[in-house]
């Protein structure tokens, strides 16, 4: 009797889980399988015949200095952008956590950039920062300051700055939400004990915000790795490959060179390079939650 019940329960659980499993298979397992199969094929736009080619694409990819250069640029960009967004978002959240005049309106204003699609932001930047018709160079021109924001020397800091303009509001929002959970009593107790505001933030607030910090690092770093829209629209990855992210490398390999097999192999290698970090981040996250 018990065995029958257990069997029925198991069957029921499979039936109940089936919509999710089908969804999972269709949207995750199948694309991964197709991506892997493409990466093992000679699949070129110029030739409609597709043949299996073993690890040929992986060998070509690992020997391509442009691929490694794009990985190096992507990691550098993601680390610097994530670090800045972490610090700036946290500082902004601390400011808004106190009673700032006009907080309600400022809060809405600060959040505007994350509501705009990155590709649209990029098009806006092209107009706003254009030396000849842009409002930003025109503003500096009022003070006889000449700015050439797209010159090769200014390009990397500019791209970091633009990424921060769009995503500091996101990190700010996460930190601000977490700060609302810090009880006022803790601040009061710290104050009674003679702790300064800076010490309170360092010794009490930051430890309490560890889960949020890990989430911010995880989300922004992964987003940084996937960065494509703004850089592609503003620089196309150039001059040369100077600002080529791995996303741009994959896109160009597929759609400029028409080599879908190599592009798929690059995607697989990127996933494999990032995969080891994921368990570590999840572990840190769960440890922080337990604390």
């Amino acid at each position: 009797m018990n065995q029958t019940r257990s069997l029925e329960a198991r069957r029921a659980s499979w039936i109940l889980a089936s919509p999710l499993l089908i969804f999972f298979a269709a949207l995750l397992v199948l694309p991964i399988y197709l991506g892997l199969r493409t990466s093992l094929s000679r699949d070129r736009f110029s030739n409609p015949e597709v043949e299996l080619s073993g690890i040929e694409n992986y060998v070509a990819l690992l020997g391509d200095p442009d691929f490694w250069e794009s990985i190096r640029f992507t990691l550098t960009f993601a680390i610097i952008a994530t670090s800045l967004q972490l610090v700036l978002g946290f500082l902004l959240a601390l400011i808004f956590d106190r009673n700032v005049p006009g907080k309600k309106y400022l809060f809405s204003a600060v959040l505007i950039p994350i509501m705009i699609a990155p590709s649209l932001m990029a098009v806006m930047y092209r107009l706003l920062l254009n030396e000849n018709i842009g409002i930003v160079p025109a503003f500096f021109g009022l003070f006889n300051i000449e700015v050439t924001l797209f010159s090769p020397n200014a390009l990397f800091p500019l791209l970091i700055l633009l990424d921060c303009i769009q995503f500091v509001p996101f990190t700010f929002l996460l930190f601000y939400a977490s700060l609302q959970n810090v009880p006022d009593e803790l601040y009061e107790a710290a104050s009674i004990d003679g702790s300064s505001y800076a010490e309170t933030v360092r010794r009490i607030v930051i430890p309490l915000l560890k889960p949020a910090i890990v989430v911010v690092i995880l989300l922004r770093f992964l987003e940084g790795i996937r960065n494509f829209d703004v850089i592609y629209i503003l620089t196309g990855g150039g001059p040369g490959t100077m600002t080529q992210t791995v996303g741009i490398y994959i896109y160009k390999t597929a759609f400029s060179q028409g080599d879908f097999g190599l592009a798929a192999a690059a995607s697989v290698v990127l996933v494999l390079l990032l995969a080891p970090f994921t368990p570590w981040i999840i572990k840190r996250l769960s440890t922080s939650e337990q604390q």
């Binding site: 018709i133 040369g240 060179q257």
Partner: protein, 447 residues
């Protein structure tokens, strides 16, 4: 409550009556003009990109659907994808042998790659088109697609400023500036159609405030130097104008030739000597136009499509003139945009009917009247009064348009050249290093 229901029912009845009346009117019109019953009409879809081409094409589509389409039994729907990534989206559709669209958008520089996924044209009258445009859409002797716009390059310059070079004081200053920038004491050449690149660079230097603080323009030149395949097409004009080519006589990559190195150095001179803005490292079509119309730059090698804007906007309105790209021999890139039938179309007969109509002077006259630049000299010459650049377009396409080597991966080569050469264009790499890298990249793409 009851009254609300009555009002709602009455409104629905009225709406239904209006819709039925509308259908009845439409049906009456169809019955009057069509030779094909509505039920037997075939609907086909065609991809184009947004912008002047898409807008002009929509007028032809509307006209066709209202008249000839009713006789052919074909209704055309135009789908405008993104200007930047139409070809990427199409690549995935072609690769998956999709029949989502019956007609694809293509271009001379893509036709060899698209050909395996397209059906050749039948009964195509090439005689009414520019020869260079028709030939640029042929692969292995087959005609793939109906040519639409023909694109090439002009050297645009401010004629009001170049005219001032005839003043003796300016001629002396010009010579001194040429000596400083190019190491040669040159005299102004007012005959812009005979310019070589020394003339162009010396004139650009003269109208750069760094060398001539009295220059009305900050920079003499607007250089589109972004890593972009369309910018490579412009740079190619210099290469060809100096007698260079992508390949040598044995079919090997030849960017490292003297002409190739010199062509790269002309760009790097413009950039490093400050004849263009430092920002031009990321410029393309729109930024180049902005530099000219804002009055910040004096000249640029730019697409013929820019004429409408340059001749009517900002500081260049009424002051812009056209010259051939400096150099000698065939030296302006020419390509044609086109539409062609998807090999996997579910409606091949209807698609051919539409394409046949599109290849008529009647259709292209509508296209030209609405902002298109059709590849039909007969139509363009009749419209010179509305767009003076059409005369130059016909002349340059016939006389100085160059023919690119017929290679299957032409599009990839353009992209690759942009990637390898763009650092050298702005002095981040030596010309010889970049040329060698370009040759190596091309070798891989010619295999």
């Amino acid at each position: 409550m009851k009254s609300k229901r009555i009002i709602a029912t009455a409104a629905m009845a009225a709406t239904a009556a209006m819709m039925m009346a509308g259908c009845a009117t439409e049906a009456t019109e169809v019955a009057e003009t069509s030779q094909v019953p509505q039920a037997e009409m075939t609907k086909i879809s065609m991809v184009l990109w947004p912008g002047p081409e898409g807008e002009a094409m929509q007028k032809i589509v509307d006209s066709y659907n209202a008249k000839q389409g009713l006789i052919d039994g074909v209704e055309v729907e135009q789908v405008l994808l993104s200007r930047a990534d139409t070809f990427s989206k199409q690549a995935t559709l072609m690769r998956s042998e999709s029949d989502e669209y019956d007609i694809y958008f293509t271009a001379s520089y893509l036709i060899a790659q698209h050909a395996p996924y397209l059906t050749p044209m039948q009964n195509f009258d090439a005689s009414i088109y520019m020869k260079s445009s028709v030939e640029s859409l042929q692969v292995d002797g087959d005609q793939f697609g109906v040519p639409l716009d023909t694109s090439l390059h002009f050297m645009y310059y401010r004629n009001d400023l170049v005219a001032t070079l005839s003043e003796p004081a300016n001629a002396t200053k010009y010579s001194a500036i040429a000596q400083e920038v190019l190491g040669k004491a040159l005299s102004p050449n007012l005959e812009t159609s005979t310019w070589n690149w020394d003339d162009a660079l010396a004139t650009a230097a003269f109208f750069t405030q760094k060398y001539n603080p009295e220059s009305p323009t900050k920079y003499g030149y607007a250089l589109p130097a972004k890593n972009l395949l369309f910018n490579t097409m412009i740079w190619n004009d210099i290469l060809w104008g100096l007698g260079g080519n992508w390949l040598d006589s044995s079919g090997k990559p030849d960017i490292s030739s003297d002409a190739g190195i010199q062509a790269i150095e002309i760009y790097s001179t413009i950039y490093e000597k400050g004849l263009t803005s430092p920002d031009s490292a990321q410029w393309e079509y729109a930024e180049t136009n902005a530099a000219l119309t804002s009055g910040n730059a004096m000249m640029a090698l730019q697409w013929n499509a820019a004429y409408s804007e340059l001749s009517t906007t900002g500081e260049t309105a009424g002051k812009i003139a056209i010259a051939p790209p400096p150099g000698s021999g065939p030296r302006t890139h020419v390509h044609a945009l086109a539409v062609a039938q998807n090999k996997f179309s579910a409606n091949p007969e209807a698609s051919q009917k539409w394409l046949s109509y599109l290849a008529t002077e009647e259709a292209m006259a509508i296209y030209a009247a609405n902002g298109g630049v059709p590849s039909m000299p007969g139509i363009l010459s009749g419209m010179v009064s509305t767009n003076a650049s059409f005369a130059n377009l016909i002349e340059y396409a016939n006389e100085i348009g160059y023919s690119r080597p017929k290679v299957a991966r032409e599009f990839d080569i353009y992209s690759s050249l942009a990637e390898e050469l763009s650092p050298a264009w702005i002095g981040l790499m030596s010309a010889s290093e970049a040329a060698a890298a370009a040759d190596e990249a091309m070798t891989g793409l010619l295999d």
